[in-house]
Amino acid sequence: MALNVGCAAAPGRARDNRTGSWRVFKPTFRHETCTKCGLCETVCPEGCVKEREDGYFDPDYDYCKGCGLCAEECPADDIEMAQEEK
C-alpha cells in the first residue's frame, strides 16, 4: 500500500536555506600554519567545510553561520574570526 498520509521532501533540500546570512563573525582560513589535519571539517556542525584539491580546507560561506568552533579547535591556530561588514 502506498503511503498516502503525511508529507515527504526531497533529500538534502535544506540547501535551499542559505544560513550564511546569519553570520556575524566570519572565519578566514589563512592556510599558513595549516597542517591539513582536517579537524575543521570534522567539527563543523554545518558540514560546510570542504577539502580542496590541494588538501587545504575552505568553508562554504553560503552556509557558514560563523559559530567559530573551527577557529577555537584548530590545533595550528590558522583560522581567524573577524566581524563581517555587510
Binding site: 533529500p11 538534502g12 540547501r15 536555506n17 559559530c67 567559530g68 568552533l69
Partner: protein
C-alpha cells in the same frame, strides 16, 4: 568508514551556530553510512533539520510522534526483515523523548529484541520548547521548570541512569560517547549498527543556547564534562562494562560548572560550597564506579 565520503546530513539546517546535536547528527551518519533508515522523535533535531519542505537528511527519515520512535523503528525493522532487506534502522532522539516520553516504547522495543540502534543525543533538557528540565538534566542545573533562586538551587534530582535500565533489558551493546571526541563517536556507532539486537548509544551534545555558553566552546565544554568525570565514556557488552575512557588527573567540577550560565547561581553572590561539593561527590562516585582515574605523580 572509507566507502561513504559524501555528506549525508546536509548544510542549510536551522540549528543555532555551534550546535552540539547538529554535529552529533553528522557524526552519527558518518558511522552508519548511507544504507540507513532514520526514525526521529519530536525534538530540536527534528525541528531544525526538517522544516517542510526542506530536509537536511540525505537518507530516508521518518518522524511520527514524540513518544513512539522506538515503536515506529520496530515496525520498520520487522517489515525490512520480512522483505529480506538489510538497511540499518536507527532511532535518533533527544533526551526528553528518550528518558521521559518515549520510555514505554523503548522498553517494548528492547524487550521484543528488534534489530535497531537507538541513539540519544543528550543535551540534558527539552531545548526545543525553551529549556525545560528532563530526566537527563543534571543535579542543580537551572532550567525554566527548575529555576534557581532564593528558594532553590536548580534541578533537585540527579540524572537518570538510562544505560543501566537498558542493560537490564538485556541489550547486547550499550555505549556512551561525547561529541568532543568525534572519532570515538563514529567508531561506537559503527560497532552498534553492526551488532545484532537492540543497541543503545547516548551522545553527550552540549547546547550553547540552553546551557549558556558561546557556540565556539561546544567542544571545549564537552571535553570538560569528560575531564571532570561528570560524563563517562564507556562501552557495555552484555551488561558488563568493557571499556571506560581513563582520565589523567581528573579536574575539579568547578571548571565545568563555572563556564555555563545554567550553573552560575552556584557562584554568586558567593560560592555555594555545599552544593558544589555534592556535584563533586556525583563525579567522584561515577569515577570510582567505572574506575577511570589515573593519577600521575608530579615530577619533583
Amino acid at each position: 568508514m572509507a566507502e561513504h565520503e559524501c555528506e549525508l546530513f546536509e548544510c542549510g539546517h536551522r540549528a543555532c551556530g555551534g550546535c552540539g546535536p547538529a554535529l552529533a547528527a553528522r557524526l552519527i551518519l558518518k558511522g552508519t553510512g548511507e544504507n540507513t533508515i532514520v526514525v526521529a522523535s519530536t525534538g530540536c533535531m527534528e525541528v531544525f533539520s526538517t522544516p517542510y519542505p526542506e530536509t537536511a537528511w540525505g537518507v530516508p527519515w521518518i518522524h511520527s510522534l514524540f513518544e513512539n520512535a522506538a515503536a515506529v523503528a520496530s515496525g520498520v525493522e520487522a517489515s525490512l526483515k520480512k522483505q529480506g532487506r538489510d538497511e540499518h534502522v536507527v532511532c535518533i532522539c533527544g533526551d526528553g523523548a528518550t528518558f521521559d516520553i518515549g520510555m514505554l516504547c523503548i522498553s517494548g522495543a528492547f524487550e521484543r529484541g528488534h534489530d535497531i540502534t537507538y541513539i540519544c543525543y543528550d543535551n540534558e533538557a527539552y531545548m526545543n520548547t525553551g529549556i525545560q528540565r528532563s530526566g537527563a538534566t543534571p543535579y542543580d542545573a537551572d532550567t525554566t521548570t527548575s529555576p534557581a533562586g532564593k528558594c532553590s538551587t536548580g534541578n533537585k534530582r540527579p540524572k537518570k541512569d538510562l544505560p543501566a535500565i537498558l542493560a537490564a533489558h538485556g541489550a547486547s551493546y550499550i555505549a556512551t560517547a561525547s561529541i568532543a571526541y568525534p572519532n570515538d563517536v563514529v567508531k561506537k556507532i559503527e560497532r552498534a549498527v553492526n551488532t545484532p539486537g537492540p543497541n543503545y548509544i547516548q551522545i553527550h551534545a552540549p547546547c550553547a543556547t540552553g546551557w549558556g555558553f558561546e557556540g565556539a566552546e561546544t567542544m571545549a565544554i564537552g571535553r570538560l564534562a569528560v575531564e571532570t568525570g561528570l560524563w563517562v565514556n564507556y562501552e557495555m557488552v552484555n551488561g558488563e562494562v568493557e571499556k571506560a575512557k581513563k582520565i589523567v588527573n581528573r579536574k575539579p567540577v568547578e571548571e565545568y560548572l563555572m563556564v555555563q550560565k545554567r550553573f552560575r547561581h552556584l557562584f554568586r553572590p558567593e560560592r555555594n560550597v555545599e552544593e558544589i561539593a555534592k556535584i563533586q561527590a556525583i563525579a567522584d562516585r561515577s569515577a570510582a564506579k567505572f574506575g577511570i582515574d589515573v593519577v600521575l605523580k608530579k615530577p619533583e
